[in-house]
């Protein structure tokens, strides 16, 4: 410190520091009380006499707290199972996408083809009023909804450290929720009342299926964002003389790659509807692809192949959970095939599929196989957003509605 530096008395840090120093060196003032008391004959005792004993040791009290702290999830946990279960959740994708899904579910694929009845129904033209309403629904989901939540961070790959202003808007979850529900409502509004009365629609229900494949335990946990169920199981007449895409060999990749092993799981499958419900037979299941939620285990972006794989595993999860509810947990080859329709969408692109579930014995690649008919990448619109302050909907494709309607009415 320079000798010439001025120490301001009112410098706030300095002031407090000095204040502490002064207050810390307090000297007890002789108030003269002792003399007065002594003069009156009242004995005066030294306060230090009372604190000279060591303080008594007290027992520590075990405070329970407002709730029991959860046990750490490790080997000592009572629910811990030594055998790992390879788990696929709806927020994860398979590394090899559709090929790995084929191996896991033992499925052959008829590409770009749906059952003839659906193709027939999809050709039927819908009234203009419906298309107007669909355009309204698309705009309402992308433009006119008032949600203002943080959207994902914008990154520029040339300057990755640059922070762009965070944009508020409609999240992909909300957009898909609005759009798919509106589409389904429109389909129901145009369908006959006998058809709608024999169906039931629920949102966000979970299915879970657990199975063995080549001595490894695998489980799929999936959420149907919309699940349409019906009084009777859905059936399809299928062409069998189709060039199927056979089950591929994944070598050198193993089929459980990117399925994280878990040690806490339930060994029973779960179908959301109880057996007592009469409209419990799954008809169509809708799956959203929310790019903010669905991620690879590694940081690479999700590829188109992986998205298609999601459709197949999702349909398989719901169908097999339902099959196990009917035929019991240990069923292998099903007496009658179970069909389920599946629609996956990220709002713009629609992937339609129909699964014929023949067997739950997924070991190897021989014997009875499941069949997956699919028609992928149908675009509902090119873009819909505020452009220069104006709501915009570009290139609406009226074919997509036909397929959604056909899947509902088949």
């Amino acid at each position: 410190m320079r000798l010439s530096q001025v120490l301001n008395r009112q410098h706030i840090g300095f002031m407090f520091k000095k204040h502490w120093v002064v207050q810390g060196k307090r000297v007890p003032i002789d108030t003269g009380v002792e003399d007065v008391l002594k003069a009156k004959g009242i004995p005066v005792e030294d306060a230090l006499e009372f604190i000279k004993d060591e303080p008594k040791e007290r027992e520590r009290i075990n405070i329970v707290g407002p709730f029991e702290p959860p046990l750490p999830l490790d080997e000592n946990h009572p629910e811990y199972k030594a055998r790992p279960c390879f788990t696929l959740k709806s927020t994860n994708v398979l590394l090899e996408g559709i090929s790995q899904a084929q191996v896991l579910t033992k499925t052959i694929i008829a590409e770009n083809r749906l059952p003839p009845k659906i193709e027939e129904l999809a050709e039927m033209p819908a009234p203009t009023a419906i298309h107007e309403n669909i355009k309204k629904a698309i705009l309402s989901a992308n433009v006119f909804d008032c949600e203002q939540k943080k959207l994902p961070k914008i990154k520029d790959k040339d300057r990755p450290a640059y922070n762009f202003p965070r944009i508020l808007g409609i999240t992909d979850k909300r957009r898909n929720q609005i759009l798919t529900n509106r589409l389904l409502q429109l389909v129901e509004k145009t369908s006959d009342s006998e058809v709608t009365q024999s169906k039931y629609v629920v949102n966000d229900v979970e299915s879970q299926t657990v199975f063995d494949k080549e001595d490894e335990l695998i489980q799929f946990q999936d959420v149907s964002h919309i699940l349409v169920t019906s009084h009777k199981p859905v059936t399809h007449d299928l062409d069998k003389d189709v060039a199927f895409k056979e089950i591929p060999d994944l070598y050198p990749v193993k089929h459980t790659v990117t399925l994280p092993p878990e040690h806490f799981y339930s060994e029973t499958s779960k179908y959301p509807f109880r057996p007592s419900v009469s409209v419990r037979h799954p008809h169509t299941t809708w799956l959203h692809f929310n790019s903010t939620e669905v991620k690879n285990v590694y940081e690479t972006p999700v590829t188109e192949d992986q998205i298609l794989g999601r459709s197949l595993t999702h349909a398989f999860t719901v169908a097999s959970a339902y099959a196990k509810q009917i035929h019991g947990e240990d069923v292998k080859d099903l007496p009658e095939p179970i069909y389920i329709n599946c629609i996956q969408t990220d709002g713009q692109k629609y992937h339609f599929g129909v699964l014929e579930l023949n067997t739950l014995n997924v070991d190897g690649s021989e014997g009875t196989k499941n069949i997956w008919y699919s028609k992928n990448n149908l675009k509902l619109y090119d873009s819909s957003r505020y452009f220069g302050g104006m709501p915009v909907l570009e290139n609406y494709n009226n074919k997509v509605y036909g397929y959604i309607n056909a899947l509902y009415n088949c």
């Binding site: 009112q10 309204k136 705009l139 008032c146 203002q148 509106r182 629920v202 302050g389 709501p391």
Partner: protein, 547 residues
């Protein structure tokens, strides 16, 4: 001074620019009239001058063309937002009914059945109920017992209340699905209506006639010329925020329940509640006032039909039957008024420019088993300080007590389904909206009604972005101005630092919150981005409405 300097640089400019002052006045042909024409005599008292100032503001807001600009204009006086009384849909403390009624200007009529207005659809409703009865029973059973599902739980409210609302929502979705599917073929308005799930409802208005808080009285007492106004009532900005479980809206408005002339009926009474809202448990926050009926301006379907609200916030026995009933009524009045006010704002009316026709909505509050139904007619939205005692109109709310839709569920069967309740609900859907034979948007422009209609690209984009930014109520980049505690002790309460330079707002006797929305530097234009060849324009243009 500036002109002088220019003249020095360009001496010839002086000859080109003619001075307006020196122009010869045009000789009026008839400068003299037969009888003298005096300018109007104006009351020049302080109160009257201030009133005229405010009235010009109201007039200016009325003359703005687009919805969004009107909303920005409402917020123009406050950079940091208004100090709003927060009217949350689910916050219903004890004894709030008088306050809610006064703030929404609602006359409440308790009824056992829906008003006569719904009698036309009695027969049709009966038929529909017979058709859908079995489906509704099935849906109730499935939602209660037939499905395994885990509701996602957050920390925002009690788990019990969230579960109640989630179950109620799934039942409401099913019943709405059943009724709309049944009625689509019969009624056009159901086919084209839009269903919103958990939309964002917000509304903002001013309530006058409220006692001034102590600080205001103390402030007034500093000035001798405010002597007569010490206890004059003040305006309170009020912000409603709610999230219905499900709403239906369509292109046309519902018919009025009672004729519009009845709005001034003196029999409709609203209690006067002038105490500060803190006394019953409504608190204040700084925020920009927002009016949002669940969609942005420009959407096709602008008028509400039905909205469903949860009642998970209703406390059990600790609150008492009467208190719970009042809480339901309060919730319904707030929700109905809030939604209708936001819709009215999209038609170009604001809290300063009153409605010219009534609007109607129907509100249902339910937990799946108990259903209370309300029909609300909005007649007036003008209740700010200049109009609170001179505006004779009142809003009207008809409300029932909660009815049980069914008694119990036993062995997978619904016991005692109350068809009357279902019929009332169906009547809400059968209530057909109609086109009105008057101008729906008298205070909006003919060509420009929303910002998207504006021709000028820059202005349109700027206004759109500004409006969305305003209503998002994002936290500011800089913290709000505040008086630190140490300042309060060492500077305000005890003047211990008298020798310091006085730089803080409270030392300079400045209220930092007294700042207009446009009181900021517009974004800077870097030199490289300026217009070619030479542009001295350093800052971007702003397009705030001129009020």
């Amino acid at each position: 001074m500036y002109l002088n300097r220019v003249h020095r640089t360009f001496p010839k400019l002086k000859k080109i620019i003619t001075r307006p002052q020196s122009q010869a006045a045009l000789a009026e042909q008839n400068e003299y009239t037969e009888t003298p024409e005096y300018p109007p005599i104006l009351d020049m008292s302080l109160k009257a001058r201030k009133l005229r100032e405010r009235e010009t503001l109201y007039q200016k807001i009325k003359e703005i063309n687009t919805v969004e600009e009107k909303q920005i204009a409402l917020n123009m006086p406050r950079y940091y937002g208004w100090k709003c009384v927060m009217f949350n849909e689910t916050r219903n403390p004890y004894n709030t009914m008088p306050l809610v009624q006064y703030y929404t200007r609602s006359h409440f009529i308790p009824v056992d059945k829906l008003p006569d207005y719904y009698n036309d659809t009695e027969e049709a409703a009966k038929l529909v109920v017979q058709e859908i009865k079995a489906l509704v029973e099935e849906a109730i059973v499935i939602e209660n017992e037939g499905i395994d599902r885990d509701f996602p739980v957050t920390n925002e409210s009690s788990i019990e209340s969230q579960k109640t609302n989630a179950l109620a929502q799934s039942i409401v979705k099913q019943i709405n699905r059943i009724i709309t599917n049944n009625l689509t073929d019969k009624l056009d308005h159901i086919l084209s209506s839009q269903v919103d799930i958990e939309p964002r409802h917000e509304a903002f208005w001013f309530v006058g006639g409220v006692d001034p808080p102590l600080e205001v009285v103390r402030w007034r007492k500093q000035y001798p010329w405010l002597k007569d106004t010490y206890d004059d009532p003040i305006d309170r900005p009020v912000q409603y925020i709610g999230t219905p479980m499900l709403t239906l809206r369509g292109k046309l408005p519902l018919k009025p329940i009672i004729p519009y002339s009845e709005a001034e009926n003196p029999e409709f009474k609203v209690p006067q509640f002038t105490h500060t809202p803190k006394t019953v448990g409504y608190f204040e926050t700084h925020r920009h006032g927002t009016n949002i009926p669940g969609y942005w301006p420009g959407d096709y379907d602008e008028f509400g039909l039905v909205s469903y609200h949860g009642r998970g916030h209703i406390r059990g026995e600790s609150f008492g039957d009467q208190d719970n009933l009042e809480a339901l009524h309060c919730q319904a009045m707030k929700a109905s008024f809030g939604w209708l006010l936001a819709q009215a704002n999209y038609q170009g009316f604001t809290t300063y420019n009153d409605l010219t026709y009534p609007l109607v909505t129907q509100t249902v509050v339910t937990n799946g088993q108990l259903w209370s139904l309300y029909a609300y007619q909005l007649n007036t939205i003008e209740m700010h300080n200049d109009k609170f005692d001179s505006n004779p109109k009142n809003n009207v709310c008809f409300g029932t007590k909660p009815f049980k839709l069914y008694d119990t569920i036993e062995n997978g069967k619904v016991q005692g389904l109350n068809e009357e309740v279902l019929k009332m609900l169906v009547k809400f859907y059968l209530n057909t909206p109609e086109e009105r034979d008057h101008d729906m948007k008298p205070y909006l422009g003919k060509e420009e009604q929303v910002v998207a209609d504006i021709e000028d690209d820059n202005r349109r984009s700027w206004l759109e972005a500004r409006y969305k930014h305003l209503v998002a109520n994002r936290p500011k980049h800089f913290l709000l101005p505040e008086v630190y505690l140490w300042e309060k002790i060492y500077k305000i309460r005890f003047n211990t630092r008298f020798f310091e330079a006085k730089r803080r707002p409270f030392e300079k006797n400045v209220n930092p919150f007294n700042r207009r929305l446009d009181d900021h530097l517009p974004p800077y234009i870097p030199k490289v981005l300026r217009q070619y060849p030479r542009s001295k324009k350093k800052f971007e243009t702003t397009y705030y409405p001129k009020v």
